[in-house]
């Protein structure tokens, strides 16, 4: 009897989680995933006849300001038009009182799933593309604060999308004059300040900077640089950060140095921008010196040789041939 009632309660709970889309232009298709704030559903936009993703909050609980955060996320995404950002189509409140946000439905894999099939250079190129929307957002004063492999999607066409801006913060100081309105619109309310900015710790362990983990109010965009370094560590080791990749040979040493610099405890010791970090990764991929890693003469010679191997071999063959000719003539 007890198990029957448990099943009934569980069923009722599951049914209650299904969003009530009556009165909206959306038809529910299926459940996709759950997140920190709520669940994501696949729906059909009956007007435009396309599939969309609906992010719907869980039924109202004690942390009632989740709806404010969802609205903030929608406003942030709407204000950041970039190929690396998921477009927002709509936001509002459902008939059952739950807040929702309608976004482009992205079919693809998370970064964590994708990297298993990639070699090192392709992984690094992927990270460069993760940094692009991030740099774009930083330039407009937005900080993600929850960057991790699960929040990066690689779409069906290879597009790289940074998702889940629910914990994003607006740093007004770096906003340009024309974007002040957006900043005002997405400024945290008194209520949400309590949750996200006044000492509470939100984020993901391992990918969260020390200052964010301490609950510092004054975190800036360099907290995302730390997370980007943690993602690079994950890409190199295949496991969650905590341990930096072991330097096996000279190949990984520059990458290890990049990780260390990005994940420095002191934000001033980190890369000061996502672009700065990716510049170093690009240099590494091109066989050029990396700013985070002061190399010795031997390593530099090895790198130059590796980069220009054919040219060096050709010139060496020419010189050897010349020396042989001279020796032959002298005989």
């Amino acid at each position: 009897m007890k198990s029957l009632s448990d099943r009934v309660v569980a069923r009722l709970q599951a049914d209650m989680q299904i969003p009530d889309l009556s009165g909206t232009r959306y038809n529910l298709l299926r459940y996709v995933a759950c997140g920190g704030m709520g669940s994501v559903w696949l729906a059909e936009d009956t007007v435009l006849k396309r599939r969309v993703a609906l992010k719907v909050l869980d039924l109202a609980g004690p942390a009632d300001d989740l709806d404010v955060r969802l609205l903030r996320e929608a406003l942030i995404l709407a204000s950041l038009e970039h190929p690396g950002m998921v477009p927002v189509y709509d936001a509002g409140t459902l008939a059952d009182g739950r807040a929702f946000c309608c976004m482009k439905y992205v079919e693809g894999q998370t970064l964590a799933q994708r990297i298993a099939t990639l070699n090192l250079p392709d992984r690094l190129r992927l990270l460069e593309r993760v940094a692009e929307p991030l740099d774009f957002a930083h330039a407009r004063g937005f900080i993600h604060r929850d960057l991790k492999p699960d929040n990066v999607m690689i779409g069906a066409f290879g597009e790289v999308l940074v998702m889940d801006w629910g914990l994003a913060k607006v740093g007004v100081t770096s906003l340009e004059a024309g974007e002040t309105e957006i900043a005002t619109a997405v400024q945290p309310t008194q209520n949400s300040l309590r949750v996200t900015d006044q000492g509470s710790v939100l984020g993901t362990r391992g990918y969260m900077s020390p200052e964010q983990a301490r609950g510092d109010i004054e975190v800036d965009h360099r907290t995302d640089i730390f997370s980007l370094g943690a993602i690079l560590t994950f890409m190199l080791t295949g496991s969650a950060p905590g341990e930096l990749p072991a330097a096996s040979g000279s190949v990984l040493r520059p990458l290890r140095a990049i990780c260390e610099k990005a994940m420095a405890g002191d934000p001033n010791a980190r890369y000061q921008s996502a672009r700065g970090m990716t510049a170093d990764i690009t240099h590494y991929l091109n066989g050029e010196p990396v700013s985070a890693y002061p190399e010795g003469l031997l390593e530099r010679s090895g790198r130059v040789f590796t980069r220009h191997r054919t040219a060096v071999v050709l010139v060496a063959v020419y010189l050897i041939m010349r020396v042989l000719f001279i020796l032959f003539e002298r005989r």
Binding site: A311, L314, V317, R322
Partner: protein, 116 residues
């Protein structure tokens, strides 16, 4: 660096080195200045031809083949004028052409696209 200029520069340097090695041949030492100048000019001509080819054709393999061909051809002409030393002149000449052909394709910068 511009492909033609890179070809010219490399051709001149390698041509000059080519000519300077004649110093190690005692019977040619008296004419070293003429040999170096002639060899440098040969290198410059080869370099410019290879550089111009590299500007038109963007292919590493074809660039190397063309460089080798030009180097061998010019060296053959020089050897004809010398009435001998075909191997000693044509092998380094071909190598110089090959190196310049590779370098212009690999390191030379193509012409900038004009904006309309």
């Amino acid at each position: 660096m511009n492909k033609v200029f890179l070809g010219l520069l490399l051709g001149a340097i390698l041509g000059a080195i080519d000519g300077l090695t004649a110093w190690f041949t005692p019977e040619a030492r008296a004419e070293i200045a003429g040999i170096v100048i002639g060899s440098t000019i040969k290198g410059i001509i080869a370099g410019i031809l290879i550089g111009v080819f590299a500007r038109k054709v963007h292919s590493l393999a074809l660039g190397i083949v063309f460089g080798l061909g030009v180097g061998l051809l010019l060296a053959f002409i020089v050897a004809q004028m010398q009435h001998g030393y075909y191997f000693q002149i044509m092998l380094p000449g071909g190598m110089v052409g090959l190196i310049v052909g590779y370098a212009t394709q690999r390191y030379g910068r193509g012409p900038k696209l004009q904006q309309t």
